[in-house]
């Protein structure tokens, strides 16, 4: 299908483009930026006047809840949500039920997502069997089945010998290992950042050292094994400083942060708002500011939605018993845009953290609009605001700390492979 997107403000972080420019798509690829190719016949024209045209978003952490957790969400609902959020590629963590620890499960997931034909799904395989932290998975087989990396999701991996072996084995094949730094014994069943709010509210705390102690182990084991490591959802100022130092030493480390943590802090827990029950916990205001600084100076490479749809009953419980997580796919763009506006970050740099930077971490050809690249595109209206309500959200998970808030930036069109998969009416 030939599509001509005209008059939009084209922002392509990889190629340093931020200008009013037309875009021509054909055969699922970008054909030309700016000049109309010879004998290009418009099949469809999208008038993007006043809108921003950017690469489709690449989300490094979106739980789709299949297989096994369909009461929370289904592939149908969540891939629609991704498309509505301008997300065209996403990585899903292995913490399904059963976990993604066998090639057959990964193949089934790939098959299901392919047949839905909306956005590209990149499964992250389990690092250990059943995510129990004991025996390694068949990583090479899992890679052949379609896994792009290996992680332990939020499951505890207490045995450092197992972690080192997993990292060594992954490095044998050049696979990357994704880890969220949290020491399970220091987290000690806590539910909120160990700070003033947890003290006031009497919530079991998770100290910052639960992150930094784990991070220290991971950094030392990265040096030992040479494996490529991606750190998921860093949450603390001290953590950011450690990652910065590790990168300065030239270690093969990348890092992301969840968009909620860029905006919110422990103070947002208010009177036990279970929508703010997140993993890792929302930390202090200085921590949040350090995360923003880390994004600005490149210590943190990417922003993810940390999409974790939770069924509503699981949130209608006292804070400590409520299930952690928030819906995020449909908020990622708006919240990234809002953050850029607040911080006076150039939009091209902000969009890089949700397009080209995460695509590089995934090792996929996406997140840019170079001719011949896949025509994965997000078109949004920067002037339009929308209310975050249960009915406005397509994801089956309706809970987010931003429920009831008004956000800037409305996605108007999402294209995957040159095909319109979402159109805001």
């Amino acid at each position: 299908m030939r599509i001509h997107i005209k008059n939009g403000r084209l922002i392509d972080p990889r190629n340093g483009i931020d200008a009013i420019s037309d875009l021509y798509l054909a055969g699922g690829k970008v054909v030309s930026v700016g000049a109309r190719p010879a004998d290009f016949q418009d099949y469809r024209v999208i008038d993007a006047t006043g809108m921003i045209v950017c690469p489709g978003l690449v989300d490094l952490s979106a739980r789709l809840r299949e297989p096994g957790l369909e009461y929370k969400a289904t592939l149908e609902s969540e891939l629609q949500a991704a498309a509505a959020g301008g997300v065209t590629s996403l990585a899903c963590p292995p913490d399904t039920d059963p976990p993604l620890d066998e090639p057959g499960l990964v193949e089934m997931l790939k098959h299901r997502t392919k047949s839905l034909d909306q956005v590209r799904v990149y499964p992250v395989g389990a690092l250990t069997q059943q995510l129990k932290g004991e025996r390694l998975t068949e990583m090479a087989e899992l890679r052949d089945a379609g896994c792009v990396a290996f992680s332990h999701a939020d499951a505890p991996l207490a045995n450092l010998h197992v972690l080192m072996q997993a990292m060594q084995y992954a490095s044998t094949f050049g696979f990357s290992v994704w880890l969220r730094p949290q020491d399970v014994s220091l987290a000690n069943k806590g539910v909120a950042h160990d700070g003033e709010m947890a003290t006031r509210l009497g919530l079991p705390p998770i100290p910052v050292c639960a992150e930094t102690v784990a991070l220290s182990n991971i950094i030392l084991l990265t040096r030992e094994t040479g494996v490529k490591v991606h750190l998921c959802r860093i949450s603390s100022a001290e953590g950011v400083a450690m990652v910065r130092a590790a990168k300065q030493q030239g270690l093969p480390i990348t890092c992301d942060v969840a968009i909620n943590h860029v905006h919110l802090s422990e103070m947002d827990l208010g009177f036990f708002d279970s929508n703010c029950h997140l993993v890792p916990p929302l930390r202090s205001l200085p921590d949040r500011d350090a995360l923003c600084t880390g994004l600005a100076d490149g210590t943190i490479d990417a922003i993810c939605s940390d999409h974790a749809p939770v069924d509503e009953d699981a949130k209608l419980l006292p804070f400590g018993q409520s299930e952690a997580g928030a819906t995020g796919l449909e908020l990622l763009l708006s919240l990234t845009y809002k953050w850029a506006m607040h911080m006076n970050t150039p939009l091209i740099d902000a969009l890089n953290t949700v397009t080209y930077a995460p695509a590089k971490i995934l090792g996929i050809d996406a997140g840019h609009l170079t001719p011949d690249a896949p025509a994965d595109i997000c078109i949004f209206d920067p002037e339009a605001y929308w209310y975050v309500t249960a009915s406005a959200i397509k994801s089956q998970g309706k809970n987010t700390p931003f429920l009831g808030r008004e956000l800037p930036g409305q996605v108007k069109y999402t294209l995957t492979d040159g095909k319109v998969v979402y159109e805001h009416l």
Partner: protein
């Protein structure tokens, strides 16, 4: 969720969930009202008809003797119908959710819920989901709050010390896990106590506790100097099982209140304890039963204070 959920739009008490953020006028109103009820509890005919025809449901998801009983007595003296539900062994164990339980009881025309729950924030959650004509009293939620206990402690302090503005108060023990301590701290600072101290080893103090407006001490001799009011907290046995404290013997030696340690405070200092006491762990029997102890009067005052809270809520 931004508005203080225990006040209605007129700024009156709709629920009693915590002493944090409670205006001093409401605190004083509760204490003054309790003062007027204290006489009732000493009369021959102890009933007054303020809550006649109202149903008070005691929802205890955690075991309690003293608190539940004094709430029951308080409600009955106000002529309310009292229904006691020991939920630890009923519906919740059959898998019913907290809100379902509460909705079912609301359908039985409850007017007031007195709630105790092991999870911090349980009373807030119930309060934000009940019909607007139902009042919720937090009788203890996790580590978070136990406002009526703190109020009866304030009542006791006022009875014995009259004025809050010249007092030094020390709270000794497991602040980390104590809803009582948190509620006391907020009430004391709101009522104008110039110096509130907490005394404990570091493993049972929450982080940033000084942000609540208290001074932190780890040593009894230093912490008790010039103290007017001593509040001893119960040390739960399960703390010894974990890595919080090595033994009850060592705890008693360094933090248990003996006559010798009490002598470090002012000579007219009063000794309080929210109960139930562990004699020989946090407090020596000689002190608990001694002439500076006001532990039993605390229990008595608890009835008047709970009557005051219920009658004020019913009137709003």
């Amino acid at each position: 969720m931004n508005r203080n959920p225990q006040l209605n739009k007129q700024g009156e008490l709709q629920h009693l969930l915590t002493t944090e953020g409670l205006p001093i006028s409401i605190l004083r109103h509760i204490l003054d009202t309790a003062e007027s009820f204290a006489g009732v509890t000493e009369r021959e005919v102890k009933k007054i008809p303020l809550l006649r025809g109202k149903s008070v449901f005691n929802l205890f998801f955690e075991p309690s003797t003293r608190t539940r009983t004094t709430f029951e007595i308080a409600a009955k003296r106000l002529s309310a119908d009292v229904i006691n539900l020991n939920i630890a062994v009923s519906a919740q164990s059959k898998g019913e959710t907290l809100l379902d339980t509460v909705n079912n009881l609301s359908a039985m025309h409850a007017d007031m819920f007195v709630v105790r729950h092991a999870q911090s924030g349980a009373a807030h959650m119930i309060a934000s989901h009940v019909r607007p004509d139902i009042h919720v009293i937090n009788a203890g939620d996790g580590r978070h709050a136990h406002p009526t206990q703190a109020l009866l402690d304030m009542f006791t302090i006022r009875r014995y010390k009259q004025d809050f503005h010249n007092l030094r108060v020390a709270i000794v023990g497991d602040i980390l896990h104590s809803r009582v301590a948190r509620s006391q701290i907020h009430a004391l600072t709101t009522l104008g106590v110039p110096e509130v101290r907490v005394i404990a080893p570091k493993t049972i103090l929450p982080s940033k506790v000084e942000r609540l407006g208290v001074h932190v001490y780890h040593d009894m001799a230093q912490g008790l100097k010039d103290i007017d009011v001593l509040i001893m907290l119960r040390l739960q046995n399960e703390r010894m099982v974990g890595a919080s404290l090595p033994s009850s013997e060592e705890y008693f030696k360094y933090y248990g209140l003996t006559q010798e340690k009490l002598a470090m405070a002012k000579p007219d200092a009063i000794v309080m304890h929210p109960g139930p006491m562990n004699r020989g762990v946090e407090i020596d029997s000689a002190v608990a039963d001694g002439k500076q102890s006001v532990i039993l009067p605390q229990v008595t005052f608890g009835i008047a204070v709970r009557m005051a809270v219920m009658s004020i809520l019913a009137g709003n």
